[in-house]
Amino acid sequence: MRWRLAIITYIALWLTSALAAYEEFHELLTFRPLSDGKLAARFTFTTSLNGTHPRDPSNLADEDQSQHYTVFPLALGQVLREYAVTELHLNLNAGKWDYDHWGYPDEPGVGTGAELWAWMGESATRSVDERWKGLRNALSGQFCASLGSLDDQRTTSPELTFRPEGSLPSSGGAHRLRHGTLPSEHVCTENLTPFLKLLPCKSLSGIASLLNPHRLFDTDWHGLSVHVRYLENEGIEVRLSFQSVFDPVRYTGGRRAWSLQSVFDRVIDRSCPVARSSEIRVAIPKEENNAQITPDFHNSDGEHAIFDVLNASKPLDVAMNWVNESAFDYNTVLSGVPLTHISVRRTLKGSSQSRGRLAVSITNNMPITIQTSYLESMPWLLQFYLHTLQVHSNGVSRDDLVSIVSCIPSVPHARPTLFQAILTLPPKSTLDISMDVIKPFLRYTEHPPDAQRGWDLPPAVLVPLLPANATVLTDHPELSLSEHKMDGFGYPIRSPRRMYTPVLLVDLATPDFSMPYNVIIMSCTLIALIFGMVFNLLTRKFTLVRVSSEP
């Protein structure tokens, strides 16, 4: 009797799990040696929940149906369903990504600080803004970051630049974008801890066991990101990613050879049992034929050496060595092909605390004319004088090269400026854009505790666009913008290549923080004195009084 019951139970379970949503977990670690001796590493943990779709925002008033997850992170799933979020991207980065030497990052969101953006469908019961507030606070608690301060003063809706990377379900209302940046946010172990807790194997086994915070936060650039997107016909995909740029030359005192042990101070001892695939890919440097990768690999897609962690012998320590190289020669860094289509530099000029000049200089590295979109979502800490916009291309004034798509001016104490323009860049030239800016005067309570430091201003975002009929650039095939690139799992990389400028620091005039009562008292005294004396004269009559007595 017992065994019959057991068989029926097993078949029922098999059927339900076959029909129900099934989950997959993939791990990937890619290494890419960079031209200046550094090493770009990228961890990608992808969990797909197939056969589901995001919560319909029109049902927000009803009780949510219970969700059952095995490897999908429960905490994140709960947040997503609570606020009916279709697509979510969170980046927490530290450092400055050097596009000129490191090329395009694998994850495009490399703006310094915290960047959070989400696509949410409109709902009659709870507005998008209300859910955005709840989402920021929930994520700030989840990831131990101060995302709660991405309030109205930092939130914009740049729908043209931040397109959805997945599909937006057509049921329900129109989808809206909310985007906020906090450039002064720090990244530290407390952000990595909850990140690791979202993984099914945590940091105990698999590739995630390499994430050693003492090494990761010692790097020239590091950033962790969380991407949630909905792919039609498939389901919801959560991609947790950690990118960093290591400097082996600094650790080893001159040599750029690296290994997992030297970089992470750890090796992989066990593989994650629930991972469907777990791979390490090492980019094979094309120009140098003395690069040597250990252990021996048999799997390769032409560009990468692929190590299957699930089946490799443990402990696994992947290493790369340049034979006959005793010290890295920095001279090779200077001569090089441009690694990106455009190079951008943004500066804030002027030493006055009342006004300045914002200057952006964009160099087109291509031999053809390309266009790029330029987005500034500037908090009201810097206000633009658009009528002073000047455009020069190689010294010649060319106002026709900038066309402003939209400009939503800032409201003091409330809304940031959203400025979007399309720039046309002639081949192999530099476009200089500059405009006057004025610096506002904040209230006493609006200044941060360290007001003398100044405020960090969010990066500008540029998206280079090649015209659709441009022939593939035979000299630089890697810069071809027709995105035939796929990520490790066969999905095309759909995100346009956004480029982020570094953040700026603006120095605003501060009042004297020690003196609020003094100021109130002194101003009120002056006003009261004048008031009193004026009314004294107005309300009293003059009379003559005899003073001297007759002798």
């Binding site: 098999w14 131990c144 709660g148 936060f217 016909n233 049992p273 505790p449 759909r494 995100s495």
Partner: protein
Amino acid sequence: MANALGMYRTVKRLGIPDSNIILMLADDAACNSRNKFPGCVYPAAARDLDLYGDNIEVDYRGYEVTVENFIRVLTGRMDSSVPRSKRLLSDDRSNVFVYMTGHGGNEFLKFQDNEEISAFDIADAFEQMWQKKRYNEIFFMIDTCQANTMYSKFYSPNILATGSSKLDENSYSYENDMDLGISVIDRFTHYVLRFMESVNKTSQATMQDLFDMYDPDKFASHAGVRSDLFNRPIDQTLITDFFGGVSQAEVLAPEEEFYYSSTPEGGHQQESESFTHVDSATTSGAVKSNNDEIHGYSDLLSVVQDLQREPPKRDTTGLFRTWVSSGLMFALVAWVSMRK
């Protein structure tokens, strides 16, 4: 930094989970670019123990550490959007341990260089907690200059308080780290942590033992204790009552084994794994969408093409309106000038 982190590690080691700890750090010392040892905070110059470690959750950091947020945490009066990890979810059977450290003085503690919290503020917050039944007993420890003044104003029951120095006394740091160029920990906290190293989850050490350890010569200040509001005798109050998360567990006789397939975690992993292996065989052949079209670009490219096709149109209705308005203005002026 090491003060608060040392207490955090002690409390975690003795069993309190992160969900029951609220850690507020105003400075980012561990990952600061000037920290020679990234990701590390050491409590001693010997650098043998890293307090930051691999597993830490800071609930309030940077500019979020304000007097207002601290009092909101204590009293529980928060906006509904504040997540659970940032709330003190205590009830009338919770023992709450509050540890504060920083720069302070006579009845105040400095927050963030521009704010202070006064002893009266904390006393009132504790009273609010008592009225709202948010604690059973509170243990309040503070390590600042003139720390004992901070607990002098409490008036709610069941509070045991201790401070590192009395009125007109400074609290001193323990030792300096010559590489980092800072002093790593304060004396009072250092000796308390050293005492705590001898305490484990099953320890029967009492609060009296802790207070007996206080030595004014070693501390270079007179640490104080206030127990008049506390209704239990201190020599019968265990350290783990406040520092440890020791829970009572009963072992029951095993019952009929039943397997539920929904949300298997941990031990049930084996079952779910076998099912997923079966499933993968059926779905590995599924075609993945190979859509070459760059989904993201289409809107941006169409904007560019629109701009190239036609020049940006000026706002004609606005121009019309302003012409009408100016015209009417001039008409009004002319009419008034014609009059008498």
